[in-house]
Amino acid sequence: MATPLVASSTSTIPSSTATTGQIKVEFSGGLELLFANQRSVTLPLPLPTTTSTSTLATPPTVGDLVTYLVNTAMVDPRKELFVVDGAVRPGILVLINEADWELEGEEEYQLCDGDTVLFVSTLHGG
């Protein structure tokens, strides 16, 4: 079966920030194929990343989530199918709590406990 996105050990995360909540990340329109065929995963806040500790002081943003996903969680080696030039590639919509992220501040939106972030790859077939 698929490798889980979240490592089972979270002991490397400082305890002061280890329990601020969790978010749900969902994939649709075929993007789940890039993420071990998982349509929905739960991630802790702050994000389980060890590559950057500078962001621990402020809540992670959706931009941080994208970085985490492409660097750590994505199993498909074709990173350009998710991120191009450091941003979510054209043709992928990002929805924060079922609303277009443009309505919420795009990359800069700060993730809160209970948020759902949905990545939808646009379909063209018919």
Partner: protein
């Protein structure tokens, strides 16, 4: 072309009786359907059920355009066509079926590609447009043509076991267009066609039926849209829990080259003329090689 019809004939009363009973339809709205002219671009997996249900509902006139012929590999999902219409142009196969389903509907079958040359004039003649195509370059072209002609666009797509649906430029000039939501085309390597990725019949069928429903809702004033009222339905056909989700989409994009205000646009605004005279290269925009047929 779409002169208002002021009455129904007795056979029409009989035929539409079950929808005339609905408070949301009734005689005034049935006459609105009868006076409407809808352009359906693509008579494949989406266009099959969309055209069947729109013809059934008594839309006065349907213009169908598609360059393809019916192939055996279409029939698992393109249920408008038949084994007996294999190799016929899809629009002719469709016209046979739709005229027999409802002879009160005028069917205009165009066996041709939807191109930069005919796009605007075809869209201008219609009241409403359905995008039932399968390629990004056609989706941008149809949207641009709807913006310059001031028509509402009901757009759907499907691949594998997923589907998407959105009503664009609704009402014209107020709701976002295809470019507002997708200002940059997807990289060519990220675009999968139904031929490559496969598609499940009832999934694309559900999306096509939903297009027919949304078109009827637009015509009878039950899909108002507006600057912040655009939603996208996404369908995950194989899910065992929630299959359908309704997402709140952004409004118009300031500076959109198709529907933005002139003073906000960086670069050239798309116009009736620039489309028709080839000023917009849709194939190159979508990362393809010209000669692909737009």
């Amino acid at each position: 072309n779409s002169s208002p019809s002021t009455l129904l004939t007795p056979p029409e009363y009989l035929r539409y009786g079950r929808q005339l009973l609905l408070p949301s339809i009734g005689l005034p709205h049935q006459l609105r359907l009868k006076s409407a002219h809808i352009l359906i671009v693509g008579l494949g997996g989406l266009g099959s059920p969309a055209s069947l249900y729109l013809a059934g509902a008594g839309i006065g006139r349907l213009t169908l355009i598609d360059p393809d012929t019916v192939e055996a590999s279409n029939l698992h999902r393109q249920v408008l066509h038949r084994t007996s219409t294999l190799n016929l142009p899809k629009v002719h196969s469709a016209a046979i079926a739709l005229r027999d389903l409802n002879p009160h509907v005028g069917i205009n079958a165009i066996h041709d590609a939807f191109t930069t040359e005919n796009a605007v004039s075809l869209v201008e003649e219609a009241d409403l447009v359905l995008d039932c195509t399968d390629r990004p370059e056609l989706r941008y072209l149809i949207s641009d043509a709807c913006v310059v002609a001031g028509k509402i666009l009901v757009s759907a797509s499907a691949l594998r076991t997923d589907g998407q649906l959105v009503v664009l430029n609704n009402p014209p000039g107020e709701g976002p267009c295809y470019r507002c939501i997708w200002p940059r085309p997807p990289p060519r390597e990220s675009v999968t066609s139904c031929g490559e990725g496969g598609v499940l019949g009832p999934v694309v069928g559900a999306m096509g039926i939903m297009q027919a429903l949304e078109a009827i809702k637009v015509l009878v004033g039950r899909r108002k849209g507006g600057q912040s009222g655009t939603r996208m339905e996404i369908f995950s056909g194989m899910a065992e829990d929630t299959m359908w989700r309704s997402l709140k989409m952004r409004g118009k994009r300031k500076g959109c080259v198709a529907c933005g205000d002139l003073e906000d646009i960086v670069g050239e605004k798309i116009t009736r003329e620039s489309i028709k005279e080839g000023g917009v290269d849709y194939v190159a925009f979508c990362g393809g090689v010209n000669g692909d047929g737009v």
